[in-house]
């Protein structure tokens, strides 16, 4: 496969909410050599379906195959290749209490977040923003010696 046009893509997969459906999806990716960069999954409210958001990379041809192979799985109801989407990723980050808290709070605020928990030794910050900006946040956060950063994976919705 051509490496040159390995574009980042986000797809939503609507699946029947039944046991082992997640492993059907992920093992298809593994078996056919496709990448998963991030994956989130949760039930769709008031339905018997779940919504998976998968961030992947591939040429147009690979994306076409991914979509088709997903459709082939029996519990897959719908596959949406996002074009015009709103996408967000949540991040939790933990900083030592001794760091400059007002700077940390200001940084988090700049990325749609804030301090959500203050403990004896640590503060926890939450941020929710576009994946590209989340990356910037993580870079900027480095100067405050974060102890731990947990990314939530992308969720997306078509505009």
């Amino acid at each position: 496969m051509a490496n040159s046009n390995k574009e980042r893509r986000v797809i939503s997969v609507i699946v029947m909410n039944e046991s082992s459906v997640l492993s059907r999806v992920t093992s298809m990716f593994a078996a056919r050599g496709y990448n998963i960069e991030s994956l989130t999954v949760a039930p769709i409210p008031e339905s018997d379906m779940s919504h998976m958001t998968i961030e992947t990379r591939g040429s147009a041809k690979v994306m076409e195959q991914i979509t088709k192979q997903l459709h082939k799985l029996i519990p897959v109801y719908k596959v949406i290749e996002h074009e015009e989407m709103v996408e967000k990723e949540m991040v939790l980050a933990k900083f030592p209490i001794g760091e400059n808290l007002s700077s940390i709070a200001a940084l988090a605020a700049a990325y749609n977040g804030g301090i959500v928990n203050v403990g004896k030794e640590m503060v926890v910050v939450q941020v929710a923003d576009e994946p590209k900006r989340v990356k910037h946040f993580i870079e900027a956060a480095q100067r405050y010696n974060p102890c731990e950063i947990v990314r939530g994976g992308v969720v997306a919705i078509e505009r």
Binding site: M16, S19, S23, S27, K61, K68, I74
Partner: protein, 568 residues
């Protein structure tokens, strides 16, 4: 009606009209076997290995077009069945395989004979189920048969924990299935079909590329009609042998790695591929960048994922070949068949230049001769199964297949040991037909225990062992590509085939001459007993033509030229 889960399994099998189940009992599936003992709605054949049970169900399915059913126990019973599932999966064969599982409470505890069957079989089944409650069992069984035979067919595994088979509950077998996420496309887009028909009329060198999907869709009559109406020449894949019929003047032969010269050249020079239920497998295309360089492609396939998977397609048509052809044929009423006359003549010259041939011998039996002789002696009456290797390719090249489902082989997975149990399954489906497994001295040993099954149940399958004392196909590659280093392919040490067959209740024949071949086959058919026909063939015979792996389809190693008079 109130009944146990085990009874429900039997009732579902009966409701689906299945007459023969192949299987092997064990701890976790014993309740079901207890019910099998009590019922008389279907026959159960005890194979001597679970792999053979699935292959036999597979052979039954391929011969009839119906869903084949196999039954195995948990753990090793299931893992032995995996090769059978994968074989059926790769060739899109409708199967329902029922496996026992440890009781629900033991799942995940590494219980005795516990293995994650749905986990292991996920990549080699169309779909699989772990039954989690008795209530869902009837629905799952119904869905399993429906999924197996609908859309692109395939094997379905139903894994049933032992306690569910004991539990008693209400049984009502559903009349219909509703899976909102599963809606196969049968009809084909009308606009695309129209465009394809226009493209056919405009083409100068069109070619019908016929795959196993035509067999699965039972579309061979429509395909023959299409060829007849348009006078477009046709090539068949390994899985499609018999679709056009050996005597059809429009059939060029089989294409691919061991395709004949005219077929491969036709594919290389065509300006329009009309692909019907074929999937552009690497053994067909050779080097992709050199494949059918001048052609537009019409691709009819029921599985959208096959379209544009390997080659870019100009006229994609997702649908069932039968339905699509029914719509397409009337659109071709005004086709000008003369338009393709020059093309047909070119291909005829190619075939005259390098026909599918071999040099026969008076000293030794040539494997190709044996196949042709079988064709002369039993011809269209027989069902031919095969194992995997040289004998398989010779059979595909030289046997005069007249109809689809006459030729049963493991094309996608290439499973050695498939042929004998598949032949048992085919013979159960068509007891009045002669069923011959064309095999090799390597393959046959991989499921030779089925001699006992065939002898016990009086399933008179004829195994023609083309014996070259080699793992012949690997040996051929070693000759061509590994400087004749015959690493672990020399099978000089052999069993006494005749004695082996006899020890298991069958008959054995040692054949070294053409006269003995005829006599042995005649006797084997008359005796009506399972047999091994051990046919000593030329040791170093190669399957030709051959496109080296990864090479362009038009670069074939060709067989030596035959004297003119021999050709006649």
């Amino acid at each position: 009606m109130q009944m146990s889960g085990a009874q429900m399994v039997c009732e579902a099998i009966i409701a689906e009209g299945v007459k023969t189940v192949f299987g092997y009992p064990g701890g976790a599936i014993m309740h079901v076997y207890d019910e099998i003992y009590k019922q008389d709605g279907f026959e159960h054949i005890l194979t001597r290995h679970e792999q053979a049970a699935v292959h036999a169900a597979d052979g039954y399915a391929r011969a009839t077009g119906e869903v084949g059913v196999a039954m195995v126990t948990s753990g090793p019973g299931f893992t032995n069945a995996v090769t059978g599932l994968a074989t059926a999966y790769m060739d899109s064969i409708p199967l329902v395989v029922i496996s026992g599982q440890v009781p629900l409470a033991l799942i995940g505890t590494d219980g005795f004979q516990e293995i994650d069957a749905v986990g292991i079989s996920r990549p080699c089944t169309k779909h699989n189920f772990l039954v989690r409650s008795l209530e869902e069992l009837p629905r799952i069984l119904k869905e399993a048969f429906y999924l197996a035979r609908s859309g692109r067919p395939g094997p379905i595994l139903v894994d049933i924990p032992k306690d569910i088979t004991v539990e008693i509950g209400e049984f009502k077998y559903p009349d219909s299935v509703s899976i909102p996420s599963y809606k196969p496309t049968y009809k084909g887009n009308n606009r695309q079909i129209e465009k394809a028909a226009e493209a056919i009329k405009k083409a100068k060198k069109p070619l019908l590329y016929i795959g196993g999907g035509v067999v699965l869709s039972n579309a061979y009559k429509l395909v023959r009609e299409l060829a007849e109406k348009t006078q477009i020449p046709a090539v068949e894949t390994l899985m499609a042998r018999g679709v056009m019929g050996a005597d059809n003047p429009l059939l060029l032969g089989m294409l691919g790695m061991h395709g004949n010269y005219a077929s491969n050249m036709a594919m290389s020079e065509t300006d329009l591929i009309i692909s019907l239920g074929a999937r552009f497998d690497d053994r067909v295309t050779g080097k992709l960048s050199e494949f059918a360089k001048y052609a537009d492609i019409i691709h009819v396939d029921i599985d959208p994922a096959n379209i544009s998977k390997l080659v870019d397609v100009d006229y994609p048509i997702v649908g069932d070949v039968s339905v699509v052809l029914q719509k397409m044929l009337p659109l071709l009423d005004d086709v000008n068949t003369d338009r393709y006359q020059a093309w047909r003549e070119i291909l005829k010259r190619y075939d005259e230049l390098h026909p599918q041939s071999y040099v026969d011998s008076d000293e030794v039996i040539k494997p190709q001769w044996a196949i042709e002789r079988l064709g002369e002696l039993v011809g269209e009456d027989a069902i031919i199964t095969s194992d995997v290797g040289q004998h398989q390719m010779w059979a595909a090249q030289h046997y005069p297949f007249d109809r689809p489902r006459q030729w049963i082989n493991s094309g996608g997975l290439g499973t050695m040991g498939f042929g004998f149990p598949a032949a048992i399954g085919a013979k159960k489906a068509y007891p009045e037909k002669t069923v011959i497994n064309i095999t090799g001295d390597g393959s046959i040993l991989m499921n030779m225990q089925e001699l006992v099954t065939a002898a016990e149940y009086k399933i008179p399958v004829i195994n023609v062992i083309l014996n070259n004392h080699f793992l012949g196909m690997v040996r051929q590659w070693q000759t061509f590509f590994y400087e004749k280093r015959y690493s672990e392919t020399d099978l000089t040490f052999q069993p006494n085939w005749k004695a082996l067959a006899e020890a298991c209740g069958g008959i054995g024949y040692d054949v070294t001459t053409k006269e003995e071949f005829d006599a042995a086959l005649k006797d084997a058919i008359a005796q009506d007993k399972v047999c091994f026909m051990n046919v000593a063939v030329n040791r170093f015979e190669n399957v030709l033509p051959m496109v080296p792996a990864g090479g362009a389809l038009f670069n074939m190693m060709l067989p030596p030229k035959v004297e003119q008079e021999e050709e006649k």
